[in-house]
C-alpha cells in the first residue's frame, strides 16, 4: 500500500471512529432521555386521566347519593308510593336534576324494592324490571357504579351509578340510578396532547375489550378483543402504578406503551405511541450522523491527500536522486527544503554523491594512467577480477603497476 493511501486511511479511521464513538454516546443517552421523557409524559397523562375518570365517577356517585337523600324527592316519592298519580312530581324533580347536571348524566330512574323502574326521566323505561342487574343488587346496599357494560335498552355502552333511597326512619324504599354520560368520558380519553399523531389513550375492561374508541379501528368498543402484551399484562398483573413496556399494539405496530390498573372501577388505562414516531428525533440524529460521516470522510480524504503529498514529495525526490546515482549522474545536487529528517537525508546523499564522484575521478585517473602503459592488458584487467587473474597466473603481478600490486597485497593480507 502506498504511503499516501496509508496516511489517508489512517486519518479517516481515526476521525470516523472518534465521530462514531461520540455519536454513539450521544445516541444512547439521547434514546434514554427520549424514552424517559415519553414515559414521564405517559405517567403524567395516565395520572391525569385516571384522576379525571375517578373524579367523573366519584362526582356522579356524590350527585346520585345526594339525590337519594334529597328531602323534596323523598317526600314526593313517599306520596307517589301512596298515590301513583304523584309520579309527575317525582319525574319533574328528576328531570330538573338532570338539566342541572350539565351533561354528567343521560337520565335518572328510580326502582322499587322489586327492581321495577317506577319513575324515570324517560317514561318509556318505566315498568321495566332490573332486579337481576348488578347496579340494582349492589345499589340496595351502598352507592355503586356498574362500569362499562352493553345495555340492550340503550343499545350501546353504559355505566350506571346507583344509591339506596331510605326514608326518614332509615328503611330502604327504593334505589335511585343515574346513567353516566359516557360521551364526556370518551372525549376525555381522545385528548392526547403531546403524543404525536400515533399517540392514543384508551380504556380496556377486565375482559380485554376496549370501552372507549380506538384511534385506528372503527366500531371497536366492546367488539375487538385486545390481547396485546401490554393489555394482557395490565389485566393479569393489575399494576396500580404506571407500568411501561414495548410491544406490538392492536395494529401489530411496535409501540412504547404504559398501562395502569384502576381497581375501584376495574379497568385498565392504556397509553401508546408508535415507537418510530417517539424516537423520530433520534432517528433524525442517526441520519445526520451518517451524513456527517460522509462529509467528514471527504474532508479527511482531501486533507489526508495534501498531508501525504507534503510528506511523499521529498521522498519521491530522494528516490529520483537515488535512481540518478545508480545511473552514474553524480553531478546533480538535489534541493530538499522540508526542514526535517528527509532534508537531512538529502544533504547526506549530496555529500555521499560528492565522495563517490571524487573517488571515481581518482579511479579514472589511475585507469587512464594504466591504459597508457599497458594498453590491452588494462582492458583484460578491467574485464576480469585482478585477484582472479593473479591467482591463475602469479607471475603477472610482477608486471602490474606499483599501486595495483600494493592493493593486491593488502587484499591478500586482509583475507589471511
Amino acid at each position: 500500500m502506498r504511503i499516501s493511501l496509508k496516511i489517508i486511511t489512517a486519518m479517516m479511521l481515526v476521525t470516523l471512529s472518534s465521530v462514531i464513538l461520540i455519536s454513539s454516546i450521544f445516541l444512547v443517552s439521547g434514546e434514554k432521555q427520549i424514552q424517559d421523557r415519553v414515559y414521564a409524559q405517559f405517567d403524567s397523562v395516565l395520572a391525569l386521566k385516571e384522576s379525571s375518570i375517578i373524579n367523573f365517577f366519584s362526582n356522579n356517585e356524590k350527585r346520585v347519593s345526594s339525590l337519594s337523600s334529597d328531602d323534596v324527592l323523598l317526600s314526593e316519592l313517599e306520596k307517589f308510593y301512596v298515590e301513583p298519580k304523584n309520579i309527575l312530581n317525582v319525574r319533574e324533580i328528576l328531570k330538573k336534576e338532570l338539566s342541572e347536571e350539565s351533561g354528567a348524566f343521560g337520565g335518572f330512574f328510580i326502582m322499587n324494592l322489586d327492581g321495577n323502574i317506577v319513575v324515570s326521566t324517560n317514561p318509556d323505561e318505566e315498568g321495566k324490571i332490573r332486579a337481576d342487574r348488578p347496579y340494582f343488587i349492589n345499589g340496595k346496599e351502598q352507592v355503586y357504579t356498574q362500569t362499562f357494560y352493553y345495555s340492550t335498552y340503550l343499545q350501546g355502552l353504559a355505566a350506571t351509578t346507583t344509591a339506596p333511597i331510605k326514608n326518614s326512619e332509615g328503611q330502604l324504599i327504593g334505589v335511585i340510578a343515574g346513567r353516566n354520560n359516557l360521551i364526556e368520558l370518551s372525549s376525555l380519553m381522545t385528548e392526547t396532547v403531546g403524543f404525536g399523531e400515533s399517540g392514543e389513550t384508551y380504556i380496556v375492561n377486565k375482559f380485554n375489550y376496549p370501552v372507549t374508541g380506538l384511534k385506528f379501528e372503527n366500531d371497536s368498543v366492546l367488539k375487538k378483543a385486545l390481547y396485546t402484551e401490554g393489555v394482557n399484562e395490565c389485566i393479569t398483573e393489575k399494576h396500580q402504578e404506571t407500568h411501561h413496556m414495548e410491544y406490538s399494539d392492536y395494529q401489530n405496530t411496535l409501540v412504547i406503551g404504559a398501562h395502569k390498573w384502576v381497581p375501584t372501577y376495574e379497568f385498565c388505562l392504556v397509553a401508546e405511541m408508535n415507537k418510530n414516531e417517539a424516537f423520530l428525533p433520534i432517528n433524525n440524529f442517526k441520519n445526520d450522523i451518517v451524513f456527517e460521516c460522509v462529509i467528514i470522510s471527504i474532508i479527511t480524504a482531501v486533507i489526508g491527500y495534501f498531508v501525504s503529498f507534503t510528506l511523499v514529495k521529498p521522498i519521491n525526490l530522494l528516490k529520483d536522486y537515488a535512481d540518478a546515482i545508480r545511473n552514474g549522474q553524480l553531478d546533480k545536487k538535489y534541493e530538499v527544503n522540508s526542514k526535517d529528517e528527509i532534508e537531512d537525508v538529502a544533504i547526506t546523499l549530496n555529500k555521499m554523491c560528492l565522495g563517490i564522484k571524487d573517488r571515481n575521478d581518482l579511479l579514472n585517473t589511475i585507469l587512464n594512467a594504466i591504459k597508457g602503459k599497458f594498453g590491452n592488458i588494462v582492458t583484460i584487467l578491467l574485464r576480469k577480477d585482478i585477484e582472479e587473474l593473479a591467482k591463475k597466473n602469479p607471475r603477472i603481478t610482477s608486471i602490474l603497476p606499483k599501486e595495483l600490486r600494493a592493493s593486491l597485497r593488502k587484499s591478500k593480507l586482509a583475507k589471511k
Binding site: 357494560y149 352493553y150 378483543a225
Partner: protein
C-alpha cells in the same frame, strides 16, 4: 471428502427431514365430529362457521359436520352419540337433565335472551300490560318466558290468550295474533311480512334465558376433555373474529345453506348485527355462563311446573373449557 459427496449427503438429509415432517403431519390425526344445530343454517351460528371456514377447527385437529335441526330430541341425540356437541336452549337442557340425560352446557352463544314478542306498530303494544286480553302466538321456551314475564309484572296469565305459533308470522300479519313470539333474528322476515313492528323483550322484565347453549355429555367431558377443549377453543376464537367482522361472518352462512334455502345477504347481515350485543355483552368473556342465570331459569320453570324437581345447577354447566383466551 469432495463436493459431490457433500451434495449427496445433504440431499439424503433433506429427504429424511422432509419425510420426517410429512410423517409428523400425518400423525396429527384429524377427528371428525358432528355438531347438531338448534335451527337450520343461519347467521346465528356465524362464529362456528368462521371457525370452520377459517381453519380454526382444522388447527385443533377437527373436521366438523354441522347437522341442521331436523325436529329430533337433541339431548337424546347427544346421549346416543349421533351428535358430539349439540346446541340447546337453557330450558331444554334443564328438562333433559331432569329426565336423567347426562348432558351439560360448555359454552353459551347468546348471553341475553334473543326472544322477543312482536306486534304491529299500529297496535301500540309496547309493554306486558298491553298484552292483557290479547292473543299471543308462542312456542316452547317462548311460552315459559312469556308467562314468567307476565307474572313478574303481576299480570294474570289467564288474561292473555297464548296459542301455538307456526313461525311464519302470517297470523300476526292477518291480525289473528295480536303479538307473536320469535327471535330478534327474525327482524327482516317480520318487516317483510308484518311491516313496522314493536318488540317486548322478556330480558327487560327480569326473564333471561341463555340461548344456543353448546352442550355435550358428561361422558365426553370426563373421557375426552382434550376434544371438548379443542372444539371450544376454536369456537370461541371463531365467535371473537365473527364479532369483529360481522358482515363477512354473516355471509359465511351461505356456504352451508342449500340452494332452495339461501337467505339474502341483507338478512344474514341483519341477523349478525342484531345478535352481536346479545352474544357479547361486554360484562363477561365470550361463552361464559353464570350460575345465577341458570338458577333464575330453573326457578321460572319450577314455578310454572314445567320442571318438577330442582336440579343441581353446578351439574348443568361448566366454564372449565373457557379458560384459554383466543
Amino acid at each position: 471428502m469432495n463436493i459431490k459427496n457433500v451434495v449427496v449427503m445433504l440431499s439424503v438429509c433433506f429427504v429424511i427431514l422432509f419425510l420426517g415432517c410429512t410423517q409428523f403431519e400425518q400423525k396429527k390425526e384429524v377427528q371428525e365430529i358432528n355438531v347438531c344445530l338448534s335451527w337450520i343454517h343461519e347467521a346465528q351460528f356465524a362464529g362456528l362457521y368462521w371457525a370452520d371456514q377459517k381453519g380454526y377447527y382444522a388447527q385443533e385437529g377437527l373436521k366438523v359436520n354441522f347437522l341442521p335441526y331436523n325436529d329430533t330430541d337433541l339431548p337424546q341425540d347427544l346421549v346416543d352419540g349421533k351428535c358430539d356437541f349439540a346446541i340447546l336452549q337453557a330450558d331444554t337442557l334443564l328438562l333433559a337433565r331432569e329426565a336423567g340425560l347426562p348432558v351439560k352446557a360448555i359454552y353459551t352463544d347468546y348471553k341475553q335472551s334473543p326472544i322477543g314478542y312482536f306486534s304491529k306498530k299500529s297496535s301500540n303494544i309496547t309493554k306486558p300490560e298491553d298484552l292483557i286480553g290479547k292473543t299471543v302466538g308462542a312456542d316452547y321456551s317462548e311460552v315459559y318466558a312469556l308467562i314468567a314475564m307476565l307474572k313478574n309484572k303481576g299480570i294474570d296469565v289467564n288474561s292473555v290468550k297464548i296459542v301455538q305459533r307456526d313461525y311464519t308470522y302470517d297470523k300476526l300479519a292477518s291480525g289473528e295474533f295480536d303479538a307473536e313470539a320469535g327471535w330478534i333474528t327474525d327482524g327482516a322476515t317480520l318487516k317483510a311480512v308484518v311491516g313496522d313492528y314493536n318488540t317486548i323483550y322478556p330480558s327487560d322484565y327480569n326473564v333471561n334465558f341463555y340461548a344456543d347453549v353448546i352442550s355435550t355429555t358428561d361422558d365426553k367431558i370426563s373421557k375426552q376433555p382434550e376434544l371438548v377443549s379443542a372444539f371450544i377453543t376454536a369456537t370461541k376464537k371463531g365467535w371473537q373474529a365473527a364479532i369483529e367482522n360481522p358482515d363477512e361472518a354473516a355471509l359465511l352462512t351461505l356456504g352451508y345453506q342449500q340452494e332452495d334455502e339461501k337467505a339474502t345477504p341483507e338478512h344474514l347481515k341483519f341477523v349478525m348485527s342484531i345478535s352481536s350485543p346479545f352474544i357479547h355483552t361486554g360484562d363477561s368473556p365470550l361463552g361464559y355462563m353464570d350460575a345465577v342465570a341458570f338458577s333464575n331459569t330453573q326457578k321460572i320453570l319450577l314455578k310454572q311446573g314445567i320442571l318438577k324437581n330442582e336440579q343441581d345447577i353446578t351439574q348443568i354447566f361448566t366454564n372449565e373449557f373457557l379458560a384459554e383466551t383466543p
